[in-house]
Amino acid sequence: MAEVELRGVSKYYKEVAAVSDVSLRIPDREFVALLGPSGCGKTTTLRMLAGFIRPDTGQILIDGKDVTDLPPERRPTAMVFQSYALWPHMTVGENISFGLKLRKVPAAQIAERARAMLDVVRLPGVEHRFPSQLSGGQQQRVALARALVLGPKILLLDEPLSNLDAKLRVRMRDEIRRIQQELQITTVYVTHDQEEALTMADRIAVMNRGVIQQLGDANDIYDRPATSFVADFIGQSNFFRGTLRRANGVTWAHIGDERVAVEPVDGAPDGAHVTVSTRPEVVEVVRAPEPGAFALDDPRLVNFGAYQRLAGRHPTLGPIEARVPKSFRLDARPVYVKLTRARAFAEPEAEMRD
């Protein structure tokens, strides 16, 4: 199949950069998710890959061939739209075979390929129905079949599951991943749903304000967020503001007159202002004072069914949350938390959480 590359691609609307100098190389057969909040530039990036939007700067290459100036009808990409975009006046069979007909494929072969593709998306025997006679999930399968029947080099999916209900979304997630694995097709998937991105993609590009904030697999993004935006957008995090200090080989973030050990930070001098984050599930809860443990005032428990969340306040650090097992009980004993695996980000404060 094929490899895609974006080289310094930007797109401006008036003065505002929707996508700003994005570079991304997606090797053959890889499934990459573009993840971010609305307006982060993920859809614009996808539409530039498809050819619906022409980038203002930069290049788009497919298999090393520059396709920047090619219109969508001449690119080896196939797109699945959020709204399915099935043609309502055509049957399912006609929808799937339309592209093949335009390519003057012999009729017998068209029918065969359409049928085979409906088998791949596990929706056999609906050729003669109209899209309006199918459920949302079925329509999405047809849209997928229509995109795949032409044997595209790159499959592009624009929030394909956001119009489905939650249960179906989870099922279609596995389906899309299965089909992608079966056909071994290079895939770019746009979503604002982190769970979709984390469960489906080989690699995830987290975008914000037209920029890729971090590119990595689910573990990189979740365990080692590169920016405070990623730490905040993916999962949940406790945040603190502090100053960086290094002593005896340990990196510390000084927060008020307290200090928290953080993972080593490159490229930020001592004294730099940092944002410190740590995930609630790695916050350790203890019931007796010990070095590095912070007393939690006013602790409360929130039940999430599978687990509980302990929330409280430290006079200097501010609000802190920790994930605790369901067996955890509050009693007269005080509660202390240890902020393990904290990460510090030296970045302008405006970058944080918007």
Partner: protein
């Protein structure tokens, strides 16, 4: 599995003529009355009149009987038959021209960009606000032989008598009907085209369709039901039109609307006039049946 108990289904309430039903009848009554007085009764009356034959004996006395003579006259008398054919032809030609023009404008408005399109989108509705009488008189002074356009052409060197006969000719009717109907048809087609979402067009491009193929396989079929409704309405308007053919049409053949008035008021032949009215009605009925069938198909979708 947890067991669930279901409540017994509620008993259907007995139907009776309650307040809300009375209110509904009261709301329908005025329009029903209107339709009866101004539509159903005249239609029935016109149909009975069209089957009434008036004979005159040698002494000049009239006698009346029921018969199909009027219909035979309409389709066997040359002038009357020509009027029917002329009416249908004018309607078909006007509708075809308006449709072609309006569809092009609507396509430009829907898919085009730039200042030309913006300008077009503002001016094309102007004729909608000009009454047909005014438009017809304007056309007469504008397009008549020795009128404005002819004068202009002669001034730049065209010889006299070279300007074609437009006013008091079928061309005059067609041009004016086109001018008058264009905005309505464009408004209608524009809204039909707006209903076709961008993603339907984009997905077609994505599978490799050229602009022409998108038009042929996506835009045209998706807009066809709405477009045919517009065609139906315009056909009805032209077939039953009076003002434009009366002011701009030739003396012979005449469109049915004009001919009807002449037979009614000048020749004192209400029987032939009524028959012509029924013919107009039947032509409209064909269009109306078509319209209803289209609507029905839409609902089935």
């Amino acid at each position: 599995m947890a067991s669930t108990t279901f409540a017994a289904p509620p008993r259907p309430r007995p139907r009776r003529l309650d307040r809300s039903r009375l209110a509904g009848l009261a709301l329908v009554a005025p329009s029903l009355l209107y339709l009866t007085v101004f539509v159903f009764i005249p239609v029935v009356k016109a149909i009975t009149t069209s089957f009434t034959v008036r004979d005159r004996d040698n002494a000049g006395n009239y006698s009346y009987r029921v018969g199909t003579d009027n219909y035979r006259a309409i389709f066997e008398t040359e002038t009357l038959r020509d009027n029917v054919i002329f009416t249908v032809l004018i309607a078909v030609i006007s509708v075809a021209i308006v449709f072609a023009l309006a569809y092009s404008i609507a396509l430009a408005l829907r898919f085009g960009k730039g200042p030309a399109v913006r300008f077009l989108s503002r001016i094309y509705v102007i004729p909608l606000f000009i009454p047909s009488v005014i438009a017809s008189y304007a056309m007469i002074t504008f397009l008549a032989n020795h009128g404005f356009v002819d004068g202009l052409l002669q001034r730049v060197g065209f010889p006299d008598e070279s300007f074609p006969r437009i006013v008091f000719d079928w061309k005059g009717i067609v041009i004016t009907q086109v001018w008058l109907s264009l905005p309505f048809m464009t408004v209608l087609l524009s809204s039909v085209l707006l209903e076709i979402s961008d993603t339907l067009v984009e997905s077609a491009r994505d599978v490799g369709a050229s602009s022409w193929q998108i038009f042929r396989h996506i835009v045209l079929p998706l807009s066809a039901p709405g477009a045919l409704i517009g065609i139906t309405f315009m056909f009805l308007g032209v077939v039953g039109g009076f003002t434009v053919p009366y002011l701009l049409g030739p003396n012979a053949p005449q469109m049915l609307g004009v001919s009807m008035v002449y037979y009614m008021t000048n020749y004192f032949e209400p029987y032939v006039a009524s028959t012509q009215a029924v013919v107009i009605f039947l032509l409209s009925l064909v269009a109306a049946i078509y319209y209803v069938r289209q609507q029905f198909k839409r609902e089935v979708r």
